[in-house]
Amino acid sequence: MGKQSLKIALNKLNLKTPIIVASGIFSYGEIDIGYLDYKKLGAVVTKTITINPKEGNPQPRLWETPSGMINCIGLQNPGIKEFIRKKLYSANIPNVKTIVSISGESVDEVKKLTEMLVKKDVKVIELNLSCPNVNRQNLMVSQNPEDTYRFVKAVKEICRSKTLIAKVSPNVTDITETALAAEDGGADILSLINTLKAIAIDTEKRGVIEGGLSGPAIKPVGLKAVYDTYQKVDIPLIGIGGITTGQDALEYILAGASAIGIGSALFSNPYIADQICETLTVFLERNNLKNLSDATGLLNEKNKTGAKKSRKKH
């Protein structure tokens, strides 16, 4: 009892727990949420920062759905300059790593963003690839493996000594294709999944709310994305999508995630980080596992057959 550790290393990124607050949840990580126990968090990802300030989308921005919610915030953010000036250094919570999320509509934009963050010695960057690509009729960057490769490679060339996380979209036929492209481009870690495209219909106001679906409704989708991708790539995975209980987090880890991201569940459950730590610790104890990394992918077919499926390189 008590020897189990929830510490985890994802390549060079060392976390004291595998719990990461996903992008878009804690504005910039600087928010003082009195009810949340920071001691249980490994890292916080900021809201996505873009080159220019974005005012965001008009109302309505939120819609509750059965077992989840749709959001269309529209990446409201003050832009990279203001972020660096005002938010970056206030974003530090003791012993919780800050990961800065960036997004751009072109390779030039993401390169510029990365250069500015590297100058400020930001150590971990998450590249949000769900942004529309201006050169492809607003198709998301990560809906195209070649674009994913180009964007990731361009960013990695500028931040060689830093940790680069690529966050890929589930709005594709086969997420492992974009995951592989991101790995080939030089990503150190993959985050999956982002929200699923969805709409809601407001019959009263006769409106359509279009955005990204999150919450328990998407958990099985995220779980499969992690399960499949774990079999194809060598870099560690951060499993995200509908985690609302300790059990959900455990399932993601057994499927192949090294760490997990919590998102919209934090809006309603302030105890979730404690619950996840508790469930994971109990699992390790019962199975006589010392480290959390021993549990990663434990129930993935890859670890039963040992065989890695063939793949083509980008």
Partner: protein, 257 residues
């Protein structure tokens, strides 16, 4: 702000549209009028925000209307049941000791934060007029109204008090008896918008409590934003964290919010 479980003391159907919920317990930091709480109603994914309608004697009061499935489930809860609550949240009404004459203007469930405000103002021996607009006489929560305040009522159908919109009634009152030092308001968006116009016309400051759909309720998700004027134009501010109380002058009032 804290998250804790409260036991239901009372949950009763007051009028055709209004329900009163009393929760037993207290917060470490006492709430001020205009603040709200975020209640988890299982099995719904997101919490629901409610203005605080009163807070004393270890009791937290909420006034609500059944508008959807979550409030319907809430209305079925019984004394002794528990609810998880995050609060107190938001900024609250600014209160200045120089104000001697005060208008409170509320419509429907929008009277909730004004009732709490009345509780605190009444102790200061001020001249308070409470303008209360409702759909019909059956919708008015008479026995929640504290003594020591002048009430002026209006209903849409004229079944109690003046017939018409409460904003217009207040306007006529100003013409006849003069303007107050300050106006505080809560209620439907269009009512608050009209209030903003009247307060601008009479150059009287007005603060209103806005509502919106919320996810986090704590300022982190940017889901509940509304357009607020700034030096260069406007920006989206959070109703939950920068509000819910705003100066009517700062709000950009929309036609179809």
């Amino acid at each position: 702000m804290e998250a804790k479980s409260f036991q239901i003391k009372k949950n009763i159907h007051l009028t055709e549209k209004l329900h009163l919920l009393e929760l037993e317990g207290s917060f470490l930091q006492s709430p001020v009028p205009g603040q709200f709480i975020h209640i988890k109603i299982d099995p719904f994914f997101l919490r629901r925000p409610f203005s605080i309608a009163g807070y004393n004697d270890n009791t937290l009061k909420i006034l609500y209307r059944v508008v959807g499935r979550a409030t319907e489930v809430l209305s079925e809860k019984e004394a002794g049941d528990s609810l998880n609550v995050i609060g107190p949240l938001g900024n609250g009404f600014p209160v200045n000791n120089n104000y001697k004459s005060i208008f409170l203007v509320g419509g429907g469930t929008g009277i909730a934060p004004l009732l709490f405000l009345t509780d605190t103002l009444i102790r200061k021996n001020l001249n308070i007029s409470f303008f209360y607009g409702a759909r019909t006489s059956e919708c008015i929560a008479f026995h929640l109204l504290p003594y020591g305040v002048d009430y002026i009522f209006s209903t849409n159908d004229g079944s109690y008090g003046y017939k018409g919109l409460i904003g217009e009634v207040m306007q006529q009152h100003i013409k006849k008896n003069g303007k107050p030092d300050i106006i505080y308001g809560g209620g439907p968006y269009q009512m608050l918008k009209q209030l903003a116009k009247i307060s601008a016309k009479h150059k009287t400051p007005a603060f209103v409590s806005l509502e919106n759909r919320m996810a986090c309720g704590t300022g982190i998700c940017y889901g509940c934003v509304t357009k607020i004027k700034d030096k260069t134009g406007w920006e989206y501010k959070r109703v939950c964290k920068d509000g819910p109380v705003f100066n009517t002058e700062e709000v950009i009032w929309e036609n179809n919010p």
